[in-house]
């Protein structure tokens, strides 16, 4: 404001006094200069206003961007929450399915036991008649121990730190029930028990068998990573590094990949 106001005051003061032609010409020149200056100032002002306008537009756009960015973040958060909730629901459903599968296995076993004790009637005989066989041979035909009990006893031993007993129990379980849903778990726990005992070469072999025999098991990433850790623990660095890189490459989204990357960084090896 001040820059626009002062030149105008000066102009009126000069016009108000007596003046020669030369003075008038000088004054005209000065007026022309001042007009030019004024025009320049007006241009500057216009430019400033424009800048202000632009600034305001930028501010508005930035606000809009921020708003839409916040909406996006919020949507991503919501999606993440939904994914987590879905994950939670899947976990709960899987849990229920597992429990039902266990109950089914138990029912099946009970039925087998019942079937072994009660043989069906011979063809042609009245349907109400049943033949109860002698107890001796039948008992020997029935498995002596429920496989789930064998698994649970082995797991109990593992939890108590009785690793030798746990290994032996899990091996018995796999022999008895090689096709059980728990067979891959049993194989993994044997490897983990050997790892706990710091028997790393044996643990490597066992984790290998988890991967080769149960390639679709959810224990595979863990088995692969533990195999890598086992190599590192016996100072077979190169093998260990290759193994950890394999985990990152094959199971990039598993928690084990993050652990492998961390260990590789500690070993001075960067991963993507």
């Amino acid at each position: 404001m001040r820059s626009r106001f002062l030149p105008l005051v000066t102009l009126f003061a000069l016009l108000g006094g007596c003046a020669s032609t030369g003075d008038v010409a000088r004054l005209q020149n000065q007026v022309a200069e001042l007009q030019e200056e004024l025009a320049g100032l007006k241009r500057t002002t216009a430019a400033k206003e424009e800048v202000q306008n632009v600034n305001q537009r930028i501010a508005e756009q930035t606000e809009q961007l921020l708003r839409s960015s916040a909406t996006l973040v919020s949507k991503v958060d919501q999606m993440e929450e939904r994914i987590q909730n879905t994950q939670g629901t899947i976990e709960q459903t899987n849990y229920r399915i597992d429990r039902m599968a266990q109950q089914m296995t138990q029912f099946q076993r009970d039925l087998e036991l019942l079937g072994a004790r009660v043989q069906p009637a011979a063809p042609g005989s009245p349907s109400s008649e049943i033949t109860v066989p002698a107890p001796g041979p039948v008992v020997s035909a029935v498995p002596s121990e429920n496989p789930v009990d064998v698994y649970q006893a082995a797991y109990r031993d593992y939890q108590r730190g009785n690793f030798d007993l746990a290994i032996s129990g899990f091996r018995d379980f796999i022999t008895q029930s090689p096709n059980s849903d728990l067979a891959d778990n049993a194989a993994y726990w044997i490897g983990e028990s050997l790892f706990s005992q710091q028997k790393y070469p044996e643990a490597i072999a066992q984790f290998d068998s988890v991967v080769t025999q149960y390639p679709r098991s959810d224990k595979v990433p863990g088995a692969l990573l533990k195999k890598g850790f086992s190599y590192l623990n016996i100072n077979e660095r190169a093998q260990g590094i290759v193994q950890l890189q394999y985990v990152v490459h094959e199971h990039p989204n598993a928690p084990e990949a993050a652990l492998a990357r961390q260990r590789l960084r500690q070993l001075g090896i960067e991963t993507r």
């Binding site: 994950q87 730190g161 863990g222 990573l225 533990k226 084990e256």
Partner: protein, 426 residues
């Protein structure tokens, strides 16, 4: 549960003044193994020549009451009721159905108390190695716990939990500080005096050290301290949060919650503050790690499935699996000493309760009662659980059997939280 609490609250003062009237819940399957022991009050024992017998009111509260309580709650002994006004001889004890008679003489010598316990079987033979216990009045309760422990070891061949201690946080001085108490709430002792918030104590497996969280230097840090309050060490992690620390039962690792960029995760550090390792890396909040007793598993709470749930992973961070499936808020998991059970806090119909998960069978059950009941911690023999509850209006620490019976309030001054039972039987 409510009834048991009410009964115990009213019965306790009475049983302290009675001779042997301690009522406890006994598992019927163990009833045949229970050894009945007669414990006459020391005053009724004939005097020994040349000694000053301690007055009964001096020793009833700090010595006799905790001794009889220990024996009665041991799951090994039942107190055989002796008829009043009759000298407690072997014959009298035998008629009361006792297998043992515990005769105790307590003498005064200057400021010290001398305690001579004698455990007799029903033939009159002494089965306890003669030993005199000398202690000032303040240590009489510890003497009672020591004698109970020795008797249990002689009769059952196993150590008792009477010498174990419970660490906790209390604000009774105006600040949250770390305190210790005996298993029955006796001998409450202040361990830290920082004048700032100090919380979440957790015992080392040797019962000698604890790790806790304190704002002593203005930020949340983990500190290690010995059971007498000395030898304080700060664990530098370079991370934020630094809380919920817990010692490995098998090596010098400590699991804790640290955060970078505001996201809490589970980390390991050794007890000298070195070798930091990150175990979880999700975008969700991970907290409350706790080691399994074999040192090979770590339980923790994670929000990765939308609500806080209990997960277990191998000690290397691998093989993560969820173990809680009921309730929309589960936290504070802690393992029983045999690794077979995990107790945790679970929100049930708007209130927090203690839920126990069987790691072998996968079954769960709820064991708490009124108010909110949180932060369980197992006794080192796996028979008892201590926890915090606001059932009386303020947060206080309670003790109960793992099946929820024999509830006992352990604290009453100020507010008291986050109990952690020492790990080793002594």
């Amino acid at each position: 549960m409510k009834k048991i609490l009410a009964v115990l609250s009213f019965a306790l003062p009475a049983l302290l003044s009675a001779q042997t009237d301690v009522t406890v819940t006994i598992d019927p399957s163990q009833a045949s193994q229970i050894v009945r022991i007669a414990v006459p009050f020391p005053d009724s024992v004939p005097k020994t020549a040349g000694a000053t017998v301690a007055a009964s009111e001096e020793i009833r509260e700090p010595f006799f009451a905790p001794l009889t309580r220990d024996l009665a709650y041991s799951d090994a002994f039942a107190i055989a009721p002796l008829p009043p006004g009759i000298a407690p001889t072997i014959e009298v004890a035998k008629r009361a159905g006792a297998h043992y008679l515990l005769k105790i003489n307590v003498f005064r010598e200057g400021p010290d108390y001398l305690v001579d316990p004698e455990l007799l079987d029903m033939t009159g033979a002494s089965v306890l190695k003669p030993q005199r216990y000398r202690s000032p009045r303040a240590a009489l309760t510890r003497t009672a716990h020591t004698i109970a422990n020795n008797i249990l070891r002689i009769v059952r061949g196993t150590p008792g939990i009477f010498m174990t201690r419970i660490a906790f946080a209390s604000n009774r001085t105006g600040n949250w500080e770390i305190w210790l108490m005996d298993w029955d709430g006796a001998n409450q002792t202040q361990i830290t005096n920082h004048g700032v918030i100090s919380i979440l104590p957790s015992w080392a497996p040797d019962n000698e050290r604890m790790v806790y969280t304190s704002w002593l230097k203005g930020t949340s840090d983990m500190w290690i301290i010995n059971r007498r309050g000395g030898g304080r060490i700060r664990l530098h992690t370079g991370l934020n949060l630094n809380t919920s620390a817990t010692f490995s039962p098998v090596n010098n690792d400590i699991a804790f919650v640290g955060s970078t960029n505001g996201n809490p995760d589970i980390y390991l550090i050794n007890d000298a503050g070195g070798n930091i390792r990150r175990l979880t890396s999700t975008g969700s909040i991970e907290s409350t790690p706790e080691w399994s007793p074999n040192g090979r598993q770590i339980s923790f709470t994670s929000g990765r499935s939308g609500t806080p749930q209990i997960y277990v992973m191998d000690a290397e961070g691998t093989n993560v699996r969820r173990i809680s499936f009921e309730g929309d808020w589960n936290d504070d998991a802690t393992w029983s000493p045999d690794g077979e059970r995990i107790a945790y806090t679970s929100r049930v119909r708007g209130r927090f309760q203690i839920r126990i998960h069987n790691t072998v069978t996968g079954e769960t059950r709820i064991v708490a009662g009124e108010g909110s009941n949180e932060q369980p911690s197992w006794s080192p023999d796996g028979r008892w659980i201590t926890f915090q509850s606001n059932r009386g209006g303020k947060w206080q620490i309670y003790r109960m059997r793992a099946d929820g019976t024999d509830l006992l309030p352990l604290t009453s001054q100020g507010e008291n939280k986050e109990p952690d039972w020492s790990k080793k039987l002594e």
